[in-house]
Symmetry: C2
């Protein structure tokens, strides 16, 4: 059947996930394709945050550490996240930032592989992951070896302590085969750390099934936890009590309220906590997870994935009609098993101005600059919780119109800061 | 003049800071003497937090990184804190947690003193500070040497890399002479890290005047930033560009939006940032600081200190009348220059039950357990922003009544969790 705006509306009417959109506060006249950078506001968040601020903090004050259970929140929220990454209860903690959690797990992993001198990662990994590894390397003497995607398996040998990868690439949306690469690393005697920033809540993840060693990820993208929401960490049970993580603060102590001058790590993932957590932001992440959990009754991650693939397939099909004639090309893998929940278009020049022209039309995507090795990228995230097929149609039409009208070439646009 | 409840009311009527109390939401029928653990809610906070959640996040979404200036918040809020700790603008950053910031500055300080093998601290320092030092020591081989207060100066020699102290003791309220101890450490060639958790916003602090090297501190106590508010870090300009801090994440990069795979630290205190910050919690801290800044027009930290000393003098005077007969004694130093903004009473037994009986009467203090070396403590924080002289009178009367009635011996109280 030929795809038209009408057929998109019909698909939306039949979409079993269509009511999940009602759980979000979405600005009028906006198609938000940047939920992979900052997820939108769940409708339940303002009231829950206000209750934490006005009742739990304002009225109950210090007593809320008990009465509101604040001390338990990182593990309680962690368990909600755990349901979407193939973890068992008690294995995941929501705390600190992705970068800090990566520092914890990378130091712990290196301590478990003494005598091995290398950390292998991907040249196109998200930069902050590489920065954290470089900071550790400067102190510990480990060598950080950056390779291209196709060379990862070949780089694994008896001198590699840790393979550190981001599951779904932030620029291209390409997804690694977690199970296969984990197996390859283990065959070389190395441990694997997976950064799930662009895959948790975006694609089915099965950490235990893949036999992964460590994972970290983000609360403010697909989980809609709010700007700078706490991140998470997961550690396989076989490792969790085998090493101290280096940020040995009071919240990770075996008896945190005993005020013992000697540190004794808690057993389990609790030891991956450090200092007092930002409770108001953690409250917003908790609502983000509760909102995400509403998908469980409708088929959960499998249903979300099926819709995500349908949305991204549709967008690629629609832009194929006009992309190449305008110097654009889809760089996200076409094969379902090899991509996340975004579509990236490479562009020889003008990508930034195109994204700005789209934003002026209410279609919010984002831009990632290229360099000597790679072209500029227009990046569009497709989040099945709140996007409709008709949004995909309208976004593709807007891109076509921006290209054909040439309006992106006319306007002066300021360089925009971007986070992810 | 003999002190009565009436003379307390008269002092309140003449108190030039009396209107600052109106800036806080304080529960009815409560005297809150635990602002040294979790400061109360400023009245302006709910609306500002709601605006960040509903407008900046909900409506403006990803654009708020620019339009709301989120990226600048840690340094902007840091500068507000800097005014109360003797820092110049651009030297303080509000970010992460106290424990994590201590890790950053301790690692940086150790890197600046190669060849020295010891970290000296106080046995009665706040435990999480010791835990962080122990975590570093385990990795780096430095020895953590814990001494009693009177032995600090004697422990400083040519093998000491860092002297790490909390300025005001969390249990006793005793305050170190920052300038003298910093001088003694420098004479031994060591660097000094000051934890200001119980002094920032509680007593005048002059980091530059004392020639301190590094400092960290807390946003949720005297600065009223909300539960788990971001903490802060300060580094003397002579050191700030001299070392990497170990948590080398994207937010501390010289060009954080360039997505360069190589880490290059920003110059200045910006490099002490790591990952994406909890913006909603940071918003609440910003309001806490704006509320605190209202004191500047009324004499600022000097006026707050004068009232704090008057409040604590009064409380000590009042409890002196009945303390010893009931097995209590004031352990906080009487001398003004040697104490912070709290009064601690030691107690051979029953301290926890007494605090619970006080809470039942609406007087919220807290309890810190003792051990083989030290007795249990009843701890009362006196924060001149919102406490009145009559509150001190009523709190002392409540304590007297609790002791005389024996009600604390009757009730079964559950062990309470506590944070600080």
């Amino acid at each position: 059947m030929h795809t038209t705006r009408q057929t998109c509306l019909e698909r939306d009417a039949q979409d079993p996930l269509r009511h999940l959109r009602d759980l979000f506060e979405l600005p009028a006249d906006t198609i938000y394709l940047d939920g992979n950078s900052l997820g939108p506001l769940p409708k339940a968040t303002p009231e829950r945050v206000a209750a934490t601020v006005q009742q739990a903090w304002g009225q109950d004050l210090i007593r809320s550490w008990n009465s509101a259970g604040w001390f338990e929140w990182p593990l309680r929220v962690g368990d909600k996240i755990g349901q979407f990454i193939g973890a068992q209860p008690g294995q995941t903690v929501a705390t600190d930032t992705t970068s800090i959690n990566l520092y914890k797990v990378l130091k712990a992993a290196l301590a478990l592989r003494p005598g091995r001198s290398r950390i292998v990662s991907e040249r196109s990994n998200f930069p902050t992951d590489l920065y954290i590894a470089q900071g550790i390397s400067r102190d510990s003497g480990h060598r950080v070896e950056l390779v291209d995607q196709d060379d990862i398996a070949g780089a694994l040998n008896g001198d590699v302590a840790v393979l550190m990868l981001t599951h779904v690439n932030y620029r291209t949306g390409a997804m690694h085969d977690m199970a296969a690469l984990t197996r390859a690393a283990h065959e070389a005697g190395a441990l694997v750390i997976w950064d799930l920033a662009h895959s948790a809540g975006a694609v089915p993840v099965d950490l235990l099934g893949a036999d992964a060693d460590f994972a970290v990820g983000c609360g403010y993208k697909y989980f809609n936890g709010g700007p700078g929401a706490p991140a998470f960490a997961w550690v396989h049970p076989r490792h969790v009590d085998a090493a101290w993580q280096p940020l040995s603060g009071w919240w990770g102590h075996a008896a945190p309220f005993a005020f013992d001058p000697q540190y004794e790590p808690a057993s389990g993932i609790a030891r991956y906590q450090c200092g007092t957590q930002a409770i108001i932001s953690l409250c917003a992440l908790d609502v983000g997870m509760d909102t995400f959990l509403a998908s469980q009754a409708l088929g959960g991650m499998a249903a979300l994935r099926a819709k995500s693939l349908a949305l991204t397939d549709l967008f690629m099909q629609l832009v194929d009609d006009f992309a190449s004639a305008n110097g654009l090309s889809v760089v996200t893998p076409r094969e379902h098993g090899k991509r996340g929940s975004q579509v990236s278009l490479s562009c020889a020049h003008g990508a930034y101005a195109m994204v700005q022209a789209l934003i002026a039309r209410g279609v919010i995507g984002d831009f990632r600059a290229g360099d000597a090795q790679q072209a500029d990228i227009l990046r569009f995230g497709f989040t099945p919780l709140y996007l409709r097929f008709v949004d995909v149609w309208d976004a593709a039409q807007a891109l076509r119109d921006v290209l054909h009208s040439g309006e992106w070439q006319a306007a002066p646009f300021q360089q925009r800061q971007a986070v992810t």
